[in-house]
Symmetry: C2
DNA sequence: TATAGTTTGATAGTAATACTATTATCTTTG
DNA sequence: CAAAGATAATAGTATTACTATCAAACTATA
C-alpha cells in the first residue's frame, strides 16, 4: 500500500495554480513549508514574504506558482480532500456489505490523521490540522459561487457525494442523505476543533472519538 | 412580546469593546452600518475606514469603540447569540413536556431569521446572514484559547449548553448530548450555507428546511 | 559547446490595510 | 460660562499584497 500511495499523484484543478508546484523542486518546497508555516502561525498571519524567507527564496518566486495565499489554501485543502478520497475508496472498495462499508467510510472520514504516510514533502498530519482550523475560510468568501463554478471545490464535493451514496446504499428511503453526509464531514472537523478548544461543548475527548459519535448518529437515523 | 424585546438589552462581555456602542448615537450607527456593510461586502473586505466614510464619521472615531474589526465581529455575533438565546428561552420556557420543549428549541435555533424585530438599529435578518457566513472566522484563529479564557465566547457556549440540557431532559442516558447540541447549532448554519451555495451537498431547499432534518436526526438518536 | 529559453533571485515600487498620535472643534453639563 | 468629554480631521508608520523589471543561473537542444 505504501508503494501504491507513493506513485499516486493527487490531481488538483489546474486553474488553482499558475505553475504546478509538483513540477519543480521549488514548487515542492513551497508546498512543504507552507504546510509547516500555516500550521505554526495560522493562515491569517501567513504571508508569501515570510514563506520566501523560510525557503531561502523570494516572495516574487512564490507568486509565480500561486496568485495569492487564498489559492494556495485551496490547493492544499483540495489535495487533502483528494488524498482522503483515495483513503476512502481504497479502504471501502472491497467491502460487500453496505452497512459495513458505510461504517468503514465514516471511520476514515472522521478519524484524525495520526501518521505521516508516503508523500515525502507533504505532511498529512499537519495538513489535517490545517483543514480543521482553516478550511472554512476557503469557502466563506464573497467569491464562493464564482470559484465553485470554476471547479475549485470539486474534489470536496465528490467526497461528500461518495459518502452520500454509501448512505443511500444502506437506506434508499432515508430523506436526508446529502445533508447527513455533509454534516458528518463538516461536523467531524468541528468536533475535533471543539475537543481541542471548547471541551465543554463536546463529548469527544481522549476516550470518546468523533467516529463513535457519528456512527451512532448515522445508524440511528437510517434503516428503521 | 415586541414591547418586552424592545426593553431587553443584550449584554455583551464588556472586554469586547473599548466604549459601549449602545451608550451613544455614534456607537449605534457603528453597529447599524457595520451590519449593513459586512453583509454587503463581506467581513474580509470590510474596514473601519470604509465604515467611517459610510456613517459620515472617521476611522479614528470607530477605533474608540472597538480595538479592531475582529472585536467588532465578536461583538456582533455575541449579540446575535444572546438574542437567539432570549428567543429560545422565551419560546420554550412554558412548555412542560421535555420532548415538545426540545422540538421547539431545535426549531428556534435552526430556522432562518425572516423578519427584523424591534431593535431599531440592529437588523437581525442581516445579522443572521452574517453569522452564517462569518461566525467561524471569529474562533478559527490562533488566539481562540486566550479569547475563550477572556469569556468572549461565553454567550455562544451558554446557548450550546442550554440545548444540551434540553437533550438530556429527554434522554438522560444518551451518550453524546454536548456533541449533538454543538452539531445542531453549527450544522444548521452549515446547511443554510450549503442550500445557498452548494445545493448538491444538502437536501435542504425551499421545501425542506434544516429544522425538519435536524428534528428527524435528533429524535432518531435519543430515547429508544 | 554555444546559445537560446526558462526559471529563479534581487530589488524597487504602489496601493491598501491596520493601526497610533495629535490637535482642533463641538457638545454637554455643573 | 467654563471645564470635561466626545468627535472629527489630519498626518504618519509598518505591514500586506501585490506588480514590474532585470540580471543571474540553470537546462535543453542544435
Amino acid at each position: 500500500m505504501k508503494y501504491l500511495l507513493q506513485d499516486l499523484k493527487v490531481r488538483v484543478n489546474d486553474k488553482i495554480y499558475i505553475k504546478d508546484p509538483e513540477s519543480s523542486d521549488l514548487g515542492k518546497r513551497i508546498i512543504e513549508h507552507s504546510i509547516l508555516m500555516i500550521h505554526e502561525i495560522g493562515f491569517d498571519k501567513f504571508t508569501f514574504k515570510k514563506l520566501g524567507e523560510k525557503i531561502g527564496s523570494n516572495e516574487s518566486s512564490v507568486y509565480r506558482y500561486f496568485e495569492n495565499k487564498h489559492k494556495l489554501l485551496l490547493y492544499l485543502t483540495s489535495w487533502y480532500w483528494g488524498w482522503l478520497e483515495y483513503q476512502l475508496v481504497f479502504a471501502t472498495n472491497s467491502i460487500p456489505d453496505s452497512k459495513n462499508k458505510l461504517r468503514k467510510g465514516i471511520e476514515i472520514i472522521t478519524r484524525s490523521v495520526k501518521e505521516d504516510t508516503s508523500f515525502s514533502h507533504i505532511n498529512e498530519v499537519l495538513l489535517n490540522q490545517i483543514v480543521i482550523n482553516e478550511y472554512s475560510k476557503s469557502y466563506l468568501t464573497k467569491e464562493v459561487d464564482e470559484e465553485n463554478k470554476e471547479g475549485y471545490f470539486s474534489i470536496y464535493k465528490r467526497l461528500v457525494i461518495r459518502l452520500t451514496d454509501m448512505i443511500k446504499d444502506v437506506d434508499s428511503d432515508y430523506a436526508y442523505p446529502s445533508s447527513l453526509s455533509s454534516t458528518i464531514i463538516e461536523g467531524a472537523m468541528h468536533q475535533h476543533f471543539l475537543a481541542d478548544h471548547f471541551p465543554s461543548l463536546t463529548d469527544c475527548n481522549k476516550k470518546i472519538t468523533p467516529t463513535e459519535y457519528f456512527i451512532d448518529l448515522v445508524f440511528n437515523s437510517i434503516k428503521k
